[in-house]
Symmetry: C2
Subunit: 699 residues, 2 copies
Amino acid sequence: MSTPQWVRALKPGSPQGSELLEQERSNSNVNVDALSHFLFTKEGIARKQRVLKVLQSEKVFDKSQNYFAGRIDRFETALARAKKLRQLAVRNGWTQDDRLTANELISEPGPYGLHESMFLITLRDQGNAEQHEKFLRPAEEYKYIGCYAQTELGHGSNVRGLETTATWNADDKTFTIHSPTLTASKWWIGSLGRTANHAVVMAQLIVNGKSLGPHPFVIQIRDMKTHEPLENIHVGDIGPKFGYNTMDNGFLLFNNFKVPHISMLARFSSVDPKTNKYSRPSSPSLIYGTLTWVRSTIVMQAGGVLARGVTIATRYCAVRRQFQDRDAPEWEKGENQVLNYTTVQIRLLPLLATTFALHFTGKGMMALYAASQKKMSQDVGKVGAPERGPGPEETHSGSDLLADLHATSCGLKSLASYTAVEGLEVCRRACGGHGYSSFSGIGPWYADYLPTATWEGDNYMLTQQVARYLLKSARSVLKGNEATNDTTAILSNFLSRQDTGAAFDILGNDSELVAAFAWRAAFLTFEALKHRDEQKKPWNSLLVDFYRLSRAHSQYMVVKNFYETLQASPDSSDGLDPETLGLMHKLFRLYALHTLEAEASEFYTSSAVTVRQIQLARTNAVMKLLEELRPHAVRLVDSWGFPDWQLDSSLGRYDGKVYEDMFHRASELNPLNRVTVDPYPDSPTLFKKNEASALKSKL
Amino acid sequence: MSTPQWVRALKPGSPQGSELLEQERSNSNVNVDALSHFLFTKEGIARKQRVLKVLQSEKVFDKSQNYFAGRIDRFETALARAKKLRQLAVRNGWTQDDRLTANELISEPGPYGLHESMFLITLRDQGNAEQHEKFLRPAEEYKYIGCYAQTELGHGSNVRGLETTATWNADDKTFTIHSPTLTASKWWIGSLGRTANHAVVMAQLIVNGKSLGPHPFVIQIRDMKTHEPLENIHVGDIGPKFGYNTMDNGFLLFNNFKVPHISMLARFSSVDPKTNKYSRPSSPSLIYGTLTWVRSTIVMQAGGVLARGVTIATRYCAVRRQFQDRDAPEWEKGENQVLNYTTVQIRLLPLLATTFALHFTGKGMMALYAASQKKMSQDVGKVGAPERGPGPEETHSGSDLLADLHATSCGLKSLASYTAVEGLEVCRRACGGHGYSSFSGIGPWYADYLPTATWEGDNYMLTQQVARYLLKSARSVLKGNEATNDTTAILSNFLSRQDTGAAFDILGNDSELVAAFAWRAAFLTFEALKHRDEQKKPWNSLLVDFYRLSRAHSQYMVVKNFYETLQASPDSSDGLDPETLGLMHKLFRLYALHTLEAEASEFYTSSAVTVRQIQLARTNAVMKLLEELRPHAVRLVDSWGFPDWQLDSSLGRYDGKVYEDMFHRASELNPLNRVTVDPYPDSPTLFKKNEASALKSKL
């Protein structure tokens, strides 16, 4: 549809969005570049610019039809992009960091996604030298394209419940892979539906009639030339989803399918083809380490994921104007920027604080992970932290550092992904009606991010692991054992001060604010312990308490990490200037006090604070912080440094040309406007003219 | 893709979903039919059956490709369905109720949606006799197909800020309709994008250079034969949205477009073509009545909207099994039904209670509306309740009944739609990974329902109206005026007992539980009044408090309506049997106590309850109610009576054949499985085989 000349001549009503954002930026002196460097390092920012340039010069990455295309076309484009990305990586000699940056900028899941992550990682970590030669090399060269097939139609978090079997045949030295039921079908497997020709399949190993638990097998599933499924394999895409539709999540069934001995990944456990004997895993903790690492990256990313939504909503709420302030004098005409309303501020500014809180917590986790890796290489074999689902409750072994990392990663993964998911939706709604348009850029992003709350451990299931660890720590402290890490330290502190009481000065002193969070977590830990050990309550009846406990502990971790990052800033080489650091302290207080108020009843009950303090926190402290932070909101989101190309949002444009962009996309890019309808109920024709159908394969 | 024979022979792992649901139903003696009758009346249930049969016999309503199709195909199908529905309505002589039932069963917005609602209603309510003849008659016969164009690109809730102008031309007795800026473009207008040939356009009326505020004009926008836009009109679809993609929401711009005098809907206000004088609206309250009614229906529907999600999640959580209960004895093998975990119960069962709470509250609202209609016809002209956005704060006039209805409808619309939106997403996540599949039926339904939280008054904006009303009522009570309705009654009661204190027996007595909600709402009202009238705080600084206040008042209304419905049941002809009534009382308590606990800090602060009571409410009362209600969960959702055809959900099937249905849709209906990919990065081909492209126009 062509836009008539008289429409092209129109401008939005005044003031222009671009003027409003300019004004916002001139009203604050936050040093955006310095804050960006503090968040991402100079090197990280330069990388982003460099990769962005490469991507923007390739036509296949043009995003203008993303929001319009249907599933098949989106998948086709995503495949083309995945291929081009691989070519670019080879041609430009991209590092792993370069490739991750490219994925972030493109911002859509691609059909090579699971090949490039779990397939390669599993082959590398769990294959032996021979298997590296046979599987890993061709996989690294994209001759084998793979996926990681664990989850089944009837079995998610509980890996022990998997139904797919791998039975050792002593006679011909093969395994028979079999799906005995429909619920045994592999399901949700990324890159499997249409793309992969190989899969790492988790199956129950059976040797001499004895079931030995789930083990990984590398299996060719499609013909290397025709790409058709091999005989006795049924494989396909599982259909459309709420998001993630550029990915071909797949299903996979085996009908007594034989694979050779080498298919079983044998670094840690294996079947000896001569003796037909099975040998046990030497160190399951190394495997668990990978998943703990995955969770840490989820925490790290959650801040950035949320920051996209906050950036879009904050900029748009500075451009959008609705109603006059009812207390404004008569002579002050014009509508008020939506960002000036406290009902908008109370939704967006605490989320802005949360983006930094999660980012710093993620950084802290990565440091903890690096330390644990070092530690782990020192005591391989000592640790057996349970992975998914409830494991043994009382028999926790291994170093305190690893146990702490495992528990922390579970709780924080749950809190961080939940916070990002909820926060994105708050941002979308804060944009009013236009938030519902795909052009807002928030809805599609939210829909793609949602599964993070489920995968790598369901957010509810995971909290049991945190609770189990905290209960164990509390038992140790009660026995009089000395504190060996932060968790046992806060529990000991609580025990020693329990009778004299707490009374933290949450409004006057930042470290006391952190201490109040520690106190509440410790209180809930001992409450839960009482229920379990003294009152002998059933585990199932305590799950809700455990969920709250995990949340409380994780919120303490976030508050602590935020605080400690700011404390360390003046001593660091890329430290913040005093003014920006002062603002960051305000964001810290806003995050902490807003969270404290939302969870008020636990803080009362634990006597960490008084009712009066909470009231003051809400009516005075939080409202005052909103007022003080308001002028800096736009510059603070600018410091996250999202290029417009990455956001792909009319509402979140850096230049504030919101309405021009909305209109351009609707009037000029929208393929539905190429059909002319026959609107009358009794006429059999639907579309009188359908330019779109000819174009459909390109939509 | 064809499913091989060996796959067809597979069954899900035991126990079968069908067995599990049978077992659930045999473990409870809830009289499903009786409860259904109580909710919907026998007549309503018979109507649903009758209409369902008609729809299922028409091929165009087949839903099997709904989740797969792209935007243009979905819109095309929706248009075909809209036409067929109109034909069926004529052929079968359907009543308004029959048509609404058909829409509910089809469960997708259609291109005639705004024609059949706001366009016809506005012509009827605001047109004079001549205009009824000229516009309403042909519209009723679908010769004119219309929409209601109010919102603009730059202007949502604030109707006074609209930029489109309608200037009276005294010389040739016409109006010039004009869009002076890009932000003046009409936007989001349902049925406008591709379907309508007429629009009711809200524009700022200008007579003799004087601006007289927004008024409605009926305007032809497309040619009656070619359906192309008329000259100097630019109109089209606004593009894809998070949901609602079967609807063609549109934009519309005018370039000095002339319309005759009769275009201005003249029942309440008009321009005299002889004198060129404007006469004022005789009764704006009649217009506002329509929107109050729309809000009441939103409250009524919210219970049913949420009930779909609760039905799906409850059934699936009874079929899905994960992990063993860790306290279960060794000999008790097999995984546990997910519905047995308290972390699942605490999410789903309070929502189940909420479905009934909202349904009964909706019924109460409709009764109040009927009463107000009667009252209104008695005192036309006395009332000027402000519609959208902040109106005059101090000058509220009109009968107490109408003011109460208006405030109640605003607050409850906000609470009910918010609760349904949030609750649906909780249901989706409670389904674990499979909740993310479109086949869950929750995601698409959620996405289509979402805008309800924004339209007919943004959920945040609306709460200001509630607060304004409550403040006014409190001022009246403080002056010593007698209580004239429930709101002033609870405020008076609070004032008289304020000093002696409350101490409600929330755990032992249901009416005290209701009283605690009233107390908290009254407390917050007087707090807000203090801030505004004594401390003279700026209105903007109080918006967050107002939001909380509105929420508190609306929750009180819901608790009260739920309680009163159950109290009245034994005396009603279709009253519940004592056993089911007992269960409903438990659901009432669960809703009230769970809400009370979630909002604990306001209940403490107001001294309605003690900290100890809240603790007991959580750890004892709520957990015990979950245990008692758990066995009846499946039968309770059955009583909502959703046919499988309406739910269109693999997970929510009445017969529990969840996995069979998931598999069927993925393996047999999914068009993506008709393409074969060329997976290698260096090969230029993307799809080796593409059966789908030939079929695309049918997808």
